[in-house]
Symmetry: none
C-alpha cells in the first residue's frame, strides 16, 4: 500500500542534562504521552543531521532532512530567507537577509533593529524594491518586524562578499567587500543599494512620522548572510510526490518553497512561542488527503533553548505533545509518522550543538523496537541506530512504499 | 563555555575474547575503575576508525582520529616516520622508513636489523645524509635502534616504487622498481642511495669496530613504505585551535608533527612497554593550561597484542587506568575527555583487526548514558552508537563548544 508521510520537525529539540531539571534533558523531563505512544508502537534512533560533531544551522539542517546534501546546495542563508518572504528566488540569484536599522546623524548604527519596528515596513520595502543597479535587478521585501531580504538577479554575481551589517552598534555600516575577485561587482552593487536605501528611507514619510513619535527611524538596511541559490531539483521531481509544508518562521518557509513544497497558510502559525501548534497539526492532517507527504516545522523549542530557559522548553514540548493527541487518535494505517529535530539547542549553551537528535518512525505494520520513551537517551537504544539527516526522508518514504528500487 | 579537550588514544586497545581470560577481552578482564567512572558519567560508543571491515594501520588511524581523511592525505608511511625522527618533511617530498641491516660478503642479507644495533647509528646516519643524487636532495636520519628514515626532495618524484627491503634473509637486497612510469626517477635514486650507503657504511669506523667486537655490521640500508607527503592543512588552521601532543613512538610523533601539533618532550615516554604513562598524563594535564586540545598516545597495548600476550595487555591496560586516576581527581568542568584506540590488535591474531574500538566522551553537563563499563562490548550499548574515526575529534570539539556552525 502506498502510504502518506507526515514529518514533524521540532526546531532545536535536542538538549543536554539540565541541573534544574534533576539532570534530565527538557525532553526527558517533559510529559509526552503521545510521543511516547508513537515511540512504543514504532522504531526510533538518533540522527546526526549533518554529520557527527558538525553543528547544524537551521537552514543546512532542514535541507538535509528534506534529502538534500547541504554541502552541494548551500552557500548562505540569504536565498532561503528571501524565498521565505515570498521573493521569487531563482537559480543563480544572490540574496541576503537584512535588518532595518537606525543610523544617528553622525552615520553610526544606534539600533540594529530600528526599535523592532512592526508597522509600515511593507511601505518602506516597496520604496526600495525593483531597482536596477549596474544592470542588475534588485528586489527587496519586508519580513516580520525589522527583518527583510534583498535579492540580486543578473550576470556576474557571486555570493562571496562580507556583510553590510557591522554586527555592532556605535559604529558606521560596514562596507561590503569582495572575498574573491569574482565577487567585486556584487560587493559594489550591495554598497550602492545600501546608499540608495539610506537616501530613500531617510526621506520616507513613515520615518518622518516615527521621528515625530519619538521612535527610532528605519533609515538604513543592513544586509548579511549572502548566498547564491544553487540548482535544486524540486522534491516533486526527486520523489515524484506532492509535498505540503506547514511552517511559521520565514527561513523554513523559504526552504520549503525552494524545494517545491506547497506551503500552507495556517492562521496562528507564527514561528514564535505563541504559535498555534494545534492549528498546524490539524492543517497537516487535512493536507494528507491531497498530498503524499506533509512537513510540519515547529520553531518554539529552539527559541526556549536559545533563551536558556529549560523549563520553558519543557512546557513547549508538552504543548507539542498535546497537539499530537488528535493525530494519534485519528492515525490511519495508510499514514507514516516521523518526528525529529533539525539540531540540538542545549539550554546550557544557548546555541546549536552537534549532539544527535531523536527520531521516531511509526506506521501500522512497521518495525517496532523495545523503546517506549521519546527522548535523546532512550532513542539511542532504538532499532534505527544512528543515521544521517539526509537519510531520514528516504527512510520514511520507504516505510510508505514510495521509493524506487535501486537495481532489480 | 569554550572548553579544552584531552584525547587519549590507546594503540591497539581493542581485542577479541581470549580463552585464557575466561572468554573476556583484555579490556573486559582488566580492572579499570577510572575508565569505568568516566564512562558512567559520560557517553560511549564504538568507532570504526576507517570504516567497518577496514583494518587500519596506526598511521591511517591516527590521521582519521585527528579528523583527516586518510584516503586523501595518505600514500605511505614513510613521510610520517621521517617526520617522527625529526626530518623536515614538506609537501611533495617522498620518504621511506628504513632499517640498518647486515649483508654478508656474498651480498646477502643475514640480519634485517643489524643485531638490533643501539649505538652509533647517529654517526652512521650522519655519514649518509645531505647527498645530492640526480639533482634530488637526499636526507637520512636514524630512529630508535636499527630504524631510520630516508627523505627525497626535488622535482619529478613519485612514491609508487617497491621496497628495497627484501623482507627476508639469505637473499640480496631488493632492487627498487617503479610501479608507474612516473616513478622511474625515484626508483633510480633510491637504488643509487642504497649503493652509496653500502660503500660508505662498509668503510665506516663504527662498523669496523662492530666486526672486531663480533657484532653484525650495519652495512646496508633497507628502505620501505614509500610515501609522498600530501598537502595537509594544520589542525591550527582547520580548527583555529592550539593542539599539543604527547607520544612515544616515532610514527605517531611524526603524524602529530605533520598535522602541526606541539609535540611535548616527556621524560620516560618511550613508546614501549616500559613507557611512563603517569608522566605522559601529567604532562598532558599541564599542557591543557596553554593549549586548546591535547592528544596522548600510548603504544603499549598494541605491543602486547602483537606479541600475543593477553595477560600482559591486561597489565598494561590496568597501568593506563591507574595513570588516569590523577586526571579523574583533578578533572575540571572546562575539560572534555575522550578515550579511544587507533585500532584493535587481537592477542589471538597478533595483528591489527577491523573490530571497532571503544570511545568514551565525558564532560560536565554533557549527555550521560547508562553504560558504566569501558570495554568493547559494554560501550556498544552506549548512546554514541557506532561512528567513524574522522568523526571523533569533531564530536569532542563540539562538546567543547569549539566548532563552527555550518549554516545559520
Amino acid at each position: 500500500m502506498e502510504k502518506r508521510v507526515i514529518l514533524v520537525v521540532c526546531d532545536g529539540l535536542g538538549d543536554r542534562p539540565v541541573k534544574k531539571l534533576r539532570g534530565e534533558t527538557p525532553l526527558q523531563a517533559a510529559a509526552t504521552p503521545n510521543l511516547d505512544w508513537f515511540t512504543a508502537q514504532g522504531a526510533c534512533g538518533q540522527v546526526d543531521v549533518i554529520a557527527p560533531g558538525v553543528r547544524p544551522g537551521s537552514d543546512t539542517a532542514h535541507l538535509a532532512l528534506f534529502g538534500y546534501d547541504p554541502h552541494k546546495v548551500y552557500t548562505g542563508r540569504g536565498p532561503f530567507e528571501a524565498a521565505g518572504v515570498r521573493l521569487d528566488v531563482r537559480e543563480g540569484d544572490v540574496a541576503f537577509r537584512c535588518n532595518f536599522a537606525t543610523l544617528d546623524s553622525a552615520g553610526k548604527v544606534v539600533d540594529r533593529r530600528a526599535g523592532r519596528i512592526r508597522e509600515g515596513t511593507d511601505e518602506l520595502a516597496a520604496s526600495l524594491t525593483d531597482m536596477t543597479l549596474d544592470e542588475t535587478g534588485v528586489a527587496f521585501r519586508e519580513g516580520t518586524e525589522h527583518r527583510g531580504a534583498l535579492l540580486l538577479r543578473g550576470k556576474g554575481l557571486d555570493p562571496r562578499v562580507t556583510d553590510g551589517d557591522p554586527h555592532a552598534v556605535g559604529v558606521p555600516v560596514a562596507e561590503v567587500r569582495a572575498l574573491a575577485p569574482e565577487a567585486a561587482k556584487t560587493a559594489k552593487i550591495v554598497n550602492q543599494f545600501m546608499d540608495r536605501a539610506r537616501e530613500i528611507l531617510s526621506a520616507h514619510p513613515i520615518n518622518r512620522q516615527r521621528l515625530q513619535d519619538g521612535l527610532p527611524p528605519a533609515n538604513v538596511v543592513l544586509p548579511r548572510g549572502a548566498g547564491r541559490l544553487a540548482k535544486i531539483s524540486p522534491v516533486s521531481e526527486v520523489w515524484g510526490l506532492r509535498f505540503a509544508a506547514v511552517a511559521g518562521v520565514a527561513l523554513v518557509k523559504g526552504i520549503c518553497r525552494v524545494v517545491g513544497m506547497n506551503l500552507l497558510d495556517v492562521r496562528g502559525a507564527t514561528g514564535g512561542l505563541d504559535s498555534d501548534f494545534d492549528a498546524k497539526v490539524s492543517a497537516a492532517m487535512a493536507a494528507l488527503d491531497t498530498h503524499d507527504a506533509v512537513v510540519v516545522s515547529i520553531k518554539a523549542p529552539d527559541i526556549a533553548g536559545h533563551d536558556g530557559r529549560p523549563e520553558e522548553k519543557v512546557r513547549v514540548i508538552e504543548r507539542i505533545d498535546r497537539a499530537l493527541g488528535p493525530l494519534r487518535e485519528a492515525f490511519r494505517e495508510e499514514w507514516v509518522l516521523g518526528v525529529t529535530a533539525d539540531h540540538s539547542t542545549p539550554s546550557s549553551t544557548g546555541d546549536h550543538s552537534a549532539d544527535p537528535v531523536p527520531l521516531l518512525a511509526y506506521t501500522d505494520g512497521g518495525r517496532k523496537d523495545e523503546v517506549s520513551q521519546y527522548d535523546e537517551l532512550a532513542v539511542a537504544k532504538g532499532s534505527l541506530g544512528r543515521i544521517r539527516g539526509v537519510d531520514v526522508l528516504p527512510l520514511l518514504l520507504d516505510l510508505a512504499d514510495r521509493t524506487e528500487k535501486f537495481g532489480a
